[in-house]
Symmetry: C2
Subunit: 198 residues, 2 copies
């Protein structure tokens, strides 16, 4: 016998389309809605619908934004000669939180992944090549995954004859980490890249 109403199942189905949200979590979220104030539910639905009208990607750097170009690209106090290349907009937030970077960004929108059919043409690489005038350094800040590594090498090779300094984030032991629990690859890297205490 069918116990749950159709509309609840439709909500569950929609929620479970998000990556990382399984069927059980989606169902728990759907059940939660009936406990909320109807006004809050209304607001949730509205902000979601509004997102399709308001949110877009910056035509210069590909950052999620309401205004195109995005505030980062328009900010004249930022150093236009350094570009930081990242996978997605969340990475920009993480880097901004460090307050250590004052250049501009370029968001690839993913990483090379032949298995998933993502090649250079699926990424925002063409636009990157169009932004290189006046750029003296490109910081490649991919995630430390196999795909991130591959993408970094691909970009480095693509840029090697451009007379631009290509750098990448340092690898090593994370702050607050505990040597005995750090994986061998990371620790090996930290040893290889050791530098003098100054």
């Amino acid at each position: 016998m069918k116990i749950l109403p159709d509309s609840l199942e439709r909500i569950t189905e929609q929620f479970s389309r998000f990556p990382g949200i399984g069927k059980k979590t989606a169902q728990r979220m759907a059940f939660q809605l009936i406990e909320w104030d109807p006004e809050d539910v209304q607001r949730l639905g509205e902000v979601i619908i509004q997102s399709t009208e308001k949110l877009r990607k910056c035509s210069i750097c590909n950052l999620i934004t309401e205004a195109d170009p995005c505030p980062v690209c328009l900010d004249t106090r930022r150093d236009e000669s350094i570009l930081c290349v990242v996978e997605d907009s969340k990475d920009v937030v993480a880097i901004e939180e460090t307050s250590r970077f004052s250049g501009k960004y370029h968001i690839l929108g993913g990483v090379l992944s032949p298995l998933e059919g993502i090649g250079p043409d699926q990424l925002n690489i063409r636009n990157l090549l169009g932004r290189l005038e006046n750029v003296t350094e490109i910081v490649i800040a991919m995630n430390p995954s196999v795909e991130g590594e591959t993408t970094s090498l691909y970009l480095a090779r693509l840029l090697q004859d451009k007379d631009i300094k290509v750098t990448r984030l340092a690898r090593g032991i994370p702050s607050g980490g505990d040597l005995e629990y750090i994986d061998g690859v990371t620790l090996g890297r930290a040893l290889d890249d050791r530098h003098e205490l100054t």
Copy 2:
């Protein structure tokens, strides 16, 4: 500097109101929306808004439903003399999937939890007492937590002078479990409640 647009932050905020959805997951969900087809986003927003109009709780058993009374309460093939008392609507789904229960349900809407200020008055207990005519057995099917246990005992005491058989789900080793990994309380319970092989 503020990197992310306001509308994205509003969505993140709304998503993180769901239990079990932390800020990072909520942000990942919000970022995901911009990758979806606008039509799909629209549909998600709409089913959420519709839920406030369509979903309600059954005035008899408290199950989430579109029609009041719910289909379970209206189903005349079900045995009205057995009531299964559960915490919430999800538990009804789980029990229905076993196909072993053909009585009716009563959803408390939670468990007794003095620490969270949930006493008998916050649960759907008054309605339960109004449904006891013609009932010969009440199956108490709380979750095996401390609060579930407390609620079971409270209900059993409340019903003890009503000339109704009060039963509860059997405790024991779960099917497919591995003795060496089963916790001591469960295994002890299974030993206490051992019965003859027939």
